[in-house]
């Protein structure tokens, strides 16, 4: 969607503007901000619905990580694909999913993207290129490589983005997937959202290197570290990686340094990090606030415009929740449907 505007960039203020402003037109930029709000408010709506007992199970919220989801997906088309993670709501929205059907899924309804079978941990919208969140840390890594193999074999020109966390980088799947992507020069971009912790375990305690991107050297692929809460930085690294991938030069590993505001899941006592650390990220490096400030500074939007976006997003979220509430539950008689493909 946003990607369509790629070639119609307006270049508002000359050449030493950040990449984002050189490359995308204002409408696209405002669209990106809107998506960030949509993600944040979606997460808040989901959280509240969970508190109220409308959503069961567990959930992993991506509040604080909106810039990486949006910055990465900005230049992608619906044909480009992503694999996502347990913390995947933001990716799903950034890639173009409809929040109503996402809420419906979380509410376990037939109108949900997975007809109520998947829930938060398996949220997917295949029509916009999201092959699905994954309950298995690292589970999506080889799948993304396989999708990229399809892109290469069919010469589709598509790229595949593989989101994963810092914790996932210690899984064997990470190693095997990156190695294969590299030797076969596949059009896949590995995006590590390094929020400092895998559940309670900090990168320092779990990972032998300081930066996940340092590991790119082990696969002879570029490893790029970006300020993951700055949309422009993320988008620029992603743009370069995409170009490289589409030219057949192979994969890139992008590490987005970011932070999650909430606990790991709904059962986190938050004992492994300090209030101060959380505070600092929330007040000093909030991705939405920083992006809003930048957009205002560059005259892309004004306060009224921002308010309008927020209000519009709030309406969309409220409607989404309403839709989800009113949607029907699956029929237990269909329990064993979708296990196998129905054959004619």
């Amino acid at each position: 969607m946003a990607g369509k505007a790629k070639n119609g960039a307006e270049k508002p203020n000359g050449a030493n503007l950040p990449f984002l402003y050189r490359h995308y037109d204002h409408e696209t930029l405002r669209g990106a901000l809107r998506k960030m709000h949509l993600i944040r408010q979606f997460e808040e709506g989901a959280e509240e619905s969970y508190m109220r007992g409308l959503i069961h199970g567990t959930m992993h919220l991506s509040i604080g990580q909106e810039a990486s989801a949006v910055g990465i997906c900005l230049g992608l088309t619906d044909e480009d694909q992503i694999t996502s993670t347990h913390r995947g709501h933001g990716h799903c929205i950034a890639k173009g999913a409809d929040v109503s059907r996402m809420f419906a899924e979380f509410f376990g309804k037939t109108t949900g993207y997975c007809r109520g079978r998947g829930g938060s941990m398996h949220i997917a919208d295949v029509s916009t290129g999201n092959l699905g969140a994954n309950g298995i840390v690292g589970g999506g890594l080889p799948i993304a490589v396989g999708a990229a193999l399809t892109a290469k074999k069919t010469k589709s020109g598509n790229v595949v983005v593989c989101f994963f966390g810092d914790g996932a980088n210690n899984e064997g799947a990470f190693h095997e997937a990156l190695n294969m992507a590299a030797i076969w020069k596949l059009p896949v971009i590995f995006v590590c959202e390094n929020n400092g912790y895998g559940m309670s375990t900090s990168v320092e305690r779990a990972t032998a290197v300081k930066n996940i991107a340092d590991r790119a050297a082990a696969y002879a692929m570029p490893g790029v570290i970006v300020e993951g809460n700055v949309v422009s930085d993320v988008a620029q690294a992603m743009h370069e990686a995409t170009e490289r991938a589409r030219k057949g030069e192979g994969p890139t590993l992008i590490e987005c340094k970011t932070y999650r505001y909430r606990g790991h899941s709904k059962s986190d006592r938050n004992r492994y990090r300090t209030k101060e650390e959380i505070e600092e990220w929330m007040t000093e490096r909030d991705p939405i606030e920083m992006f809003e400030a930048e957009l205002q500074e560059l005259g892309v939007i004004d306060m009224a415009g921002i308010e309008a976006i927020r209000a519009d997003v709030a309406r969309e979220i409220a409607e989404g929740i309403e839709f989800a509430k009113e949607s029907p539950m699956p029929d237990v008689a269909n329990l064993e449907k979708y296990v196998y493909t129905e054959q004619a």
Binding site: G57, C114, R117, G118, V137, G172, M199
Partner: protein
């Protein structure tokens, strides 16, 4: 129930019972230590290790990176060189990542080396559905490991047995795999203080009866007992056996019961096909108890589907008390 239980008054939850077993073992034997993801300051995904890291320190309550294959392998390597690791999988589903080390290494090392080593490792697997965590966080995979010689596989159903079987497992010279149903963690029950063991390989007759033997595992023991209670009101008298150990299976206890009741039903949460009930059924059908059977052997197992997210669907995927009551009644009254 064992005599021990009768005299115990103190109640602990299943999770607390496991924690206590680990604490006792660590106090008694300095070779014992814990490994797993987020078992330290987080206390474990299900708070089973809880505050043990504060008591025993991070060297004995070791957080591992998210590396199930490697982590399990490290535990195997530590065990074979003289330590007594207890490795916690965060969810039993992640055993899929570590089957290599569990099945090719831990289970076979002693045999392949002609008895030159033992592999005293314990692995704990939080298992089962009912938490709304969907298909990749709800599986019951004990049948896979039950199929593997060299392993011992247990499924405690009560806090008492969780503690006693875990202590037996830790002291066992061979690899022991423990499947703990997540919905049991909060269930309370009497647990004796101090050290005791429950023998691996012994089933427990939880309720005596003459009309039908129900062999149940893990959480299904409680559902079967509830069903039995209901049916006793209808004059149907059910014997409920808690299998407790999947491998080696306690043939004799089941055979003796079936010889008495002439009817057998197996209730288990895992996918019905090739689940534990298949083995229990086949074991009886080839035993001397066959001649005593008055009715087909019925299995109530999980549906032939991944576990769905929607709670109603999820519930429908695994046996519930109503279903057990109905099936047992039909079996005893011959309506089947």
């Amino acid at each position: 129930m064992d005599a021990i239980i009768e005299t115990a008054t103190r109640e602990l939850s299943y999770a607390q019972a496991i924690q206590e077993a680990m604490a006792i073992a660590m106090e008694r034997d300095e070779r014992v230590f814990l490994m797993g993801e987020d078992i330290g300051v987080y206390g474990g995904a299900f708070q089973v290790t809880g505050d043990l890291v504060e008591r025993f320190g991070p060297e004995r309550v070791m957080d591992t990176p998210i590396s199930e294959l490697g982590g399990a392998g490290v535990a195997v390597g530590a065990a074979v060189t003289g330590l007594r690791p207890i490795f916690e999988f965060q969810f039993s589903d992640f055993a899929t990542l570590a089957m290599e080390q569990i099945v090719n290494q831990a289970a076979k090392m002693r045999y392949m080396l002609g008895g030159a080593v033992s592999v005293p490792v314990v692995m704990r697997f939080p298992a089962g559905s009912g938490t709304g965590a969907a298909a990749q966080h709800s599986q019951s995979l004990e049948a896979w490991l039950g199929h593997v010689p060299g392993l011992k596989v247990i499924q405690p159903a009560t806090p008492h047995d969780a503690k006693g079987l875990l202590l037996a497992a830790i002291e066992d010279p061979d690899p022991v795999m423990i499947f703990e149903h997540k919905l049991l963690y909060k269930m309370k029950g009497p647990v004796p203080e101090g050290h005791y063991t429950v023998p691996i390989g012994k089933a427990d007759v939880r309720r005596e009866g003459r009309d039908l033997t129900i062999v149940a595992t893990s959480i299904m023991v409680h559902k079967a007992l509830e069903a039995a209670e209901t049916l006793s009101g209808e004059g149907i008298d059910i014997e409920v056996i808690d299998l407790r150990t999947v491998r080696p299976m306690d043939r004799q206890t089941v055979i003796d019961s079936v010889r008495k009741t002439s009817r057998l039903m197996c209730v288990y949460e895992a996918v019905k096909t090739l689940g534990i009930g298949a083995e229990v059924s086949a074991m009886i059908a080839e035993s001397e108890a066959f001649d005593y059977l008055d009715a087909p052997i019925v299995r109530l197992g999980g549906a032939e589907t991944p576990i769905p997210y929607n709670p109603e669907l999820e519930k429908a995927t695994v046996p519930q008390v109503d279903g057990i009551v109905q099936a047992a009644r039909d079996l005893v009254t011959g309506a089947r």
